[in-house]
Symmetry: C2
Subunit: 330 residues, 2 copies
């Protein structure tokens, strides 16, 4: 089958609500720093009330990655569920506007479109509070097997595991990709998410995943080790292609005997680290889709991550295609 898409991404369809505040705000409102916490509708409403000036921007981990891929000039498909409400319509319109195919029907009733209330502290760290809402309504019939099978890579986010109901949809997508001989890429998403689903993630890594994305904390959480090198050895032992990101320390890319230790791309000022991992994955997958060597894939990831952390919001503002060209990697 010819490839209609470079990447098909499956993830939570979320609108980010971004609010810059000092660390004392986190303490006052009991928000865990630097991680993602699931919240209910009541908590979401009460946090909304204290963030009156917050910016609303389309987000969602895999959706952000698809936006990055589009900015590089890649062709993508996104699968994720919104409700037919103001936030949901904004999400759908945003992702289509940037050129990502998005055909999942919006839910007519039930929970509202998901939102993630993100507090960005002056150090650029983001603390996320996610209300999953309509994301929990993703079902098998939302997955178009033929479309998934026509993408070179299927990219799945670990956050999806937080909804039991989504699993049938994920399984269907993975099966369609595997059946078509495509690669399955997976991101561990968050260290606490890894803690919640460690055994399932390890089983999935063994059975279906070809490409694993993880940051240092997630990789250490997966194998319950304290040193980065121990996580590296454990992931290398899987024999899969692994891309481990380490914030300012750069990344390590490994596949069999091949291993690359790459620096982070320079950033004048880190404003908001939201989306760094999502955009790293975008650059890396873009490189893979263009048949670049693994070190160039890692460098493309670093370029995209550096762009997104230099401003508020989890999707690129500059053309990643242009940045890649300037770095001689287009």
């Amino acid at each position: 089958m010819t490839e209609r898409y470079d990447v098909a991404g499956v993830g939570n369809a979320i609108v980010d609500v971004i609010f810059a505040a000092p660390d004392s705000f986190l303490l006052e409102h009991r928000i865990a720093k630097g991680t993602m916490t699931l919240i209910d509708e009541y908590r979401a409403e009460s946090l909304f009330a204290i963030m009156p000036d917050a910016h609303h921007l389309s987000g969602g981990s895999a959706a952000n990655t698809m936006a990055g891929l589009a900015s590089f000039g890649a062709k993508g498909l996104f699968v994720g569920k919104v409700k037919d409400d103001e936030r949901g319509n904004a999400f759908a319109s945003d992702i289509r506007r940037i050129g990502v195919r998005y055909d999942v029907a919006a839910a007519k009733d039930g929970a509202a479109t998901a939102c993630c209330l993100i507090v960005v502290t002056p150090d650029g760290q983001r603390s996320m509070n996610t209300y999953l809402g309509a994301c929990r309504e993703l079902r098998s019939h939302d997955v178009d097997e033929a479309a998934i099978a026509s993408a070179r890579v299927l990219y799945v986010e670990g956050y999806l595991w937080d909804d039991e109901g989504s699993k049938a949809a994920i399984r269907k997508a993975v099966k369609a990709a595997k059946h078509a001989g495509r690669k399955v890429a997976f991101t561990l998403s968050d260290p606490f998410c890894v803690g919640r689903y460690r055994d399932e993630f390890l089983a999935l890594l063994e059975s279906d995943i070809d490409i694993l994305f993880a940051n240092e904390e997630e990789a250490k959480a997966l194998y319950e080790v304290e040193a980065f090198d121990d996580a590296l050895q454990a992931t290398r032992a899987t024999g899969k292609l692994v891309a481990l990101t380490r914030s300012a320390k750069g990344c390590v890319i490994a596949r069999g005997d091949e291993i690359h230790v790459l620096d982070a791309a320079p950033v004048a000022k880190v404003v908001d680290t939201t989306g760094a991992g999502d955009q790293f994955a975008a650059g890396f997958l873009f490189g893979l889709s263009r048949g670049r060597p693994l070190d160039d894939c890692g460098r493309l990831g670093a370029i995209a991550a550096a762009e997104v952390i230099s401003h508020y919001g989890a999707r690129p503002e500059a053309s990643l295609k242009g940045l890649a060209a300037r770095a001689g990697l287009a």
Copy 2:
């Protein structure tokens, strides 16, 4: 043959003259920052004159490594030349006091014992000005082949190449080690030193070196590449055991398919980076001598480097054996 020594080190026998000064001092006296510059006797005297309160401490790259090894509890032998003068006698007495065997006869006449005028700036960086003096008098007859052959590892510093006359002595030592089936370890010493002797170092790496120590800048200079990963790929391709240090970024240890990406050990405050590489080598070689796995060897190196950069001077003040024990690596 039974092993009488864990490591035999060959290097320049130098007394360090340490002076803390602001960056403006470097500019005023035209001292290149962060590297090693060779100076003549006249320049040494004029720099001495403007550093009246400087501390005098025994130094020399390989000699510092031997001091570190002694602090870990390893048995060592040092080969390097001093003159029978005040500095030379202090150097010889210091290295013997810490338990390193040192039998090279002091020169009775000729140039004075070497000194290295080190300016330490507030950022902890050291800028070195070396007057080689009596080091240039190291000759073949100073090398005891039987003693070298009785050490598990011969450790040679690249700085030795700055004296044409020392080369016969180095060749004799390397030949004795190789003949006895011992390992030869080598440190590239300094990026400018690499620039001066690149072809010789590359040939030596191919022919005789089993273990290569280099910091990031030295490794990049050796292969004339700009990215750390490119230097890593080139050193890995030699098939030798390589230990590449990256200051605060930690180190990468590689041998064949085995590769470790290790963090730097924590340091409360970096006071003086002089000797960081020397002590890393000490910890790493100590680990090897005790048959530790390569990641532990790297961690021992990191512990020793962290100790030495937390105070002025290039030799450990705390017991490295004690620090290794506290880290569970003794």
